[in-house]
Symmetry: D3
Subunit: 262 residues, 6 copies
């Protein structure tokens, strides 16, 4: 079975730079995946992407070395199993608040005896090889999003769930949950401390800490805090910011400061 | 009938900054169209877009003030009429080499008595109003691409075709045609002179001169040469350049100089 | 943030005439949205539409003044949040039976602190503006469908849920629930009384009462009963009834009485 | 091979009532095809439909007894052969001006020895049977559109082309060609006479005369003039007219007189 | 209402040979449905198919005599009701472990008073007739998949649920659940006995026993055990096995033994 | 630039076994491409595939080592250039009858100075590398189909066109052209001789001879005649033949002799 390159990067102490696709199209996904990402995640939660669009996007990513991942829209069995069957090598699940929710996520995402995932990979066999079913539990990465007060409160319990590989922080929702405006580069002390604590607790368990950011500057800050995986910004946002600034430059206007995203 | 805003900009001596969509998707087209372009052109020639994808992209552009245009894949009656029926307010036709070819293009793109376009607008009526058929010949813009040696040689004859509004220069093909490597910012004296001449001849006829570029710097140069419409770079390229540089910055590497495009 | 026009109509004591799209296509949605509706609702429950089709339909509706709404297929977090992110300005949720179910619906549909909706609008920002997240809880309309005996029994409790804007009656399901054949213009006394009671109780709380109908005659009856929003018939049904009658007329046959719908 | 029902209707002296699909969707096509049409034509010229959308529409029509036909966008080999391979049992080709153009159309649409159509039916075999290739030249109907002054002038020559089954009149383009406003129910004497002449000349050769109309009243007039096939109005227009009138009725406004179409 | 042919086959003691579509395309579905199957099931669980793709596939199947069925991705209300509305005449629901889960499935799949399915068929009316709502509870087939240890343990309780028609065995998941490698032709005594027991218990209740297999040999074995419906292999697998062997034969290599599937 | 593996196979005197995709879907294309083909050709002529469907199919093929090729629907500039831009590494053009037609095909398919192909690769750059434009004329394969009497008669002239790599025989059309029934394994002496002659003339010029067949037996015969590339049967046909025979076997009926294809 094809190895999951991200596990090796983590083992080597490296930094995973993750792309994020919100544009539901396989051509933009292919262009984007060739840019040099370690992994590319299709966003089925906040991106206007659904399963049928995600399949050719997974194919597009599979023409490159980037590891194909998906953010699922919710902790639902159907979509979790369908995306894994279609060849996602990692899943990020939003809004995990409790150990029970994390267990449910892992149950959907792992074959027996760890979980209850149903047998029937399709593209996964093309991408990974015929022995996919034997190695999937070891190679596929499962990340629980920590982005609510409950998630923060239950962090240790969530991290104790066998079969979970790590967490992924959503700073905008986390900020909202703590009563602050949504932002991917929080300046609020409470939020900053929470983000720092998530990394350190997660790393102390030997698990993987990932986080959403608004670009290179914030990403580097997060890596320095101990995060091993950062997402820079989604493709639609990259496109909009760059295009807006090109237009402004052509019109002789000052560029936007990098637009805030959430 | 809805007025074509680009005609007013030209009348006012303004500069048209044109976006260029190669990603065959209506969500990216909508995000892109909100960036501040005067017009947005869907590329059915070199973008991997065909008619069925172009229709929702035209709808997406129509949620903004940007004027929807299309580059047709070839000087073919079917696609020219279909895109106009679907609400394109301007067409750019590649590889016009002769007056006869320009006449054919205009014939397809104009209703009688100027041309032979068949009556049956669909989205065009939604976008423009029920009197579309009465005003279409006046509002829709038709541009012939000058990008071959023959096109250069026949420039005056091409510009003499009644019903044509202007020309659009493809510097990459033009460079190739003159035996030089394809580039959107040519440094070859012959190509530079040709580009300059196209603008001056076109303007001298009171017609519109447009040109493809690789970004703001070249675009500003072209405006200064007399071009009234410039395209900055296509959406896929904007995305790739911006993403590549973000990754490099995050990895601590030097950014690419703005990647050359063709 | 763009205002939700429907709130103003209600405030002004006006009548909202709502279109209903079951055809999963953006061109028919655009044509239909230009007909003069105050709002147009995409039916993801009984129409053969899913999320990916709904996105360009939302774009199509957004080229007009009609307010874009969706009927979600079920009270599920994923689809509720995805449709709001994609720019739906109102949601209608089927089969709300209890206060708990209504609370769950509102929780999915409202940002904190009212609900638990996750932050990450995509088209919504294009449609509404960059301050969408600040105004969404105030502008987006949430309707609970009352169409079961339990829903009827728990009407007051359902209406007490903070963040819910009103109810929407499904007369066919309601008739079935009361042991009668499905119809959008019930003649059964019990069903008629139930429909009347829903309007009066809802209005007495200062909330919005909406209802599905089979056309203008029934719609006018409902407005007279106090309903503020009526749907006339879905697009596929409009098409079928009109086409059938045109064929009959051409063949010299008597037109159908307006076909009953459910 | 499955017989083409339309040939029998003509032989029996019956009247063919033809539906017209401009909405590029297989669900609306299926609903529409169940309404009672003798044939249903997918409009790839003025409808925003292309080949890939037309295939599931052909499948949808094939669930009913209506004969599936297509209007091709232009007299081009590729699309003519592709639509026949996909199971169209009749083609209508726009803008036939001369005998040579009619011969070209027939050449593309007929297998040797009559024409040069390439062998390789796909859906056609599913729809018609394995012996499709043996019967296709006999069953498939080919109509040349007469809608220009040249077409009128060359009518007899066009009708002399072996392998052509009849003509189809486009009154809007014909009106434009004769210097009149586009309309499907012309009141101009010259246009009226031309339409009458086309039927009588065509019938005198034993061929089939078809015509586009704006609804039952005009269609009946055309049948009385000798036309054997009439189209009532396209699906998008049926939908728009019916919906607009329902809204007006609900608002208490006078209905539109049947909106003029072109 | 159109009768469900499968009920008659069962009544007559016949054997149902069921096709299985994992390729999300209506052309392949149409070709496949013409091969001679009694029924064809679209796999929305392990096939990369979702609702929007399934609709034209249902249309394609409806051009033949094969009964259209779907395997739903999960025991979720939304997708169960949507597929029935779209004309599925049978549903197979994965991973039914308990009587409560079977009751939930039936509740979603049956109209009142048996269940709580919401009224609003779309394609179902086209396929079945206008009286669909009156006959649907009698014609539509509902199968619960038995493929876990809990499902096995609760088999009698599951079969006692009114409104359920039978079971469908997933040998791969069942094997996994019993600690064996996934296979569609198990050789393990425990799994073999379980499969035999499911048929005999199901038949003893007068219900229908169906099972997934890896091809004709296993299917015949299952029929001999009392199964009334067998699936031979999915379309993607048929294609891959046949193509691989054709290539090997052309290269002069030994054919694969029929590749194992799961 | 990525090398075209097929050129090396030919140089090494090997045999190219080519797959053929008529199913317009990227999942089936991916499954099929993993079967062991040297190249996989998407059929945009007789397969119900158009450009927009072909793009994700090209992506799917690009996840394997098989060389992606396309059969274009006709000798038209637009589609030839679009498919090359999208990354096709070989094109097969139907119905080449004369040297002039072959020259036109080559003109569309080669960059200057050999041809007039316009510069603007999109996926091609992703697949081949940034230097695609420099190597494309050397790597991309262009095949002219010989399948008419004129093509046969002009074979030597066609083969003299600089920039053409070889021919591809369509035995069904060729048989028809010679007055015989269409078949992929002709038994007519004249047709057999013609097929043999095409190989020998083509090989004598040092060019590549390819041919369509109905499976391994015919393919091996063709290789023995000197053909270097054979196509075994299209994917839809493979699926139908295999499925039909599985059903027959399960029903205890004799298998079809391998169904004749054309």
């Amino acid at each position: 079975m094809r190895k999951n390159k991200l596990r090796q990067i983590v083992k080597d102490g490296g930094r995973i730079i993750n792309g994020w696709c919100a544009i539901p199209n396989s051509y933009s996904a292919e262009v984007y995946s060739h840019c040099g990402w370690d992994s590319v995640t299709i966003d089925l939660q906040h991106g206007p992407v659904d399963f049928q669009s995600a399949v050719p996007m997974l194919q597009a990513i599979s023409t490159t070395d980037a590891v194909p991942m998906c953010r699922v829209p919710w902790n639902d069995a159907a979509i979790i199993m369908k995306l894994l069957d279609a060849g996602a090598y990692g899943l990020i699940c939003p809004m995990i608040n409790t150990k029970a929710e994390a267990e449910q996520f892992v149950s959907y995402g792992r074959y027996p005896p760890i979980g209850t995932r149903s047998m029937g990979p399709n593209r996964a066999v093309q991408y990974a090889g015929a022995d996919y079913w034997q190695g999937a539990n070891d190679e596929v990465l499962l990340f629980a999003m920590i982005e609510t007060q409950a998630g923060l409160d239950n962090l240790e319990a969530i991290l104790s769930v066998k079969g979970l590989d790590g967490v992924y922080v959503g700073p905008s929702d986390l900020s909202m949950a703590m009563g602050k405006p949504p932002t991917l580069d929080p300046s609020d002390k409470g939020v900053i401390d929470a983000i720092a604590r998530i990394a350190s607790v997660t790393r102390s368990k030997g698990m993987i800490a990932g986080v959403h950011t608004d670009g290179p500057a914030t990403a580097k800050k997060r890596f320095d805090q101990g995060y091993q995986l950062t997402t820079l910004m989604n493709d639609a946002r990259v496109l909009a910011v760059a295009a807006t600034n090109m237009i402004k430059e052509t019109r002789g206007l000052a560029p936007n400061e990098t637009a805030k995203t959430y």
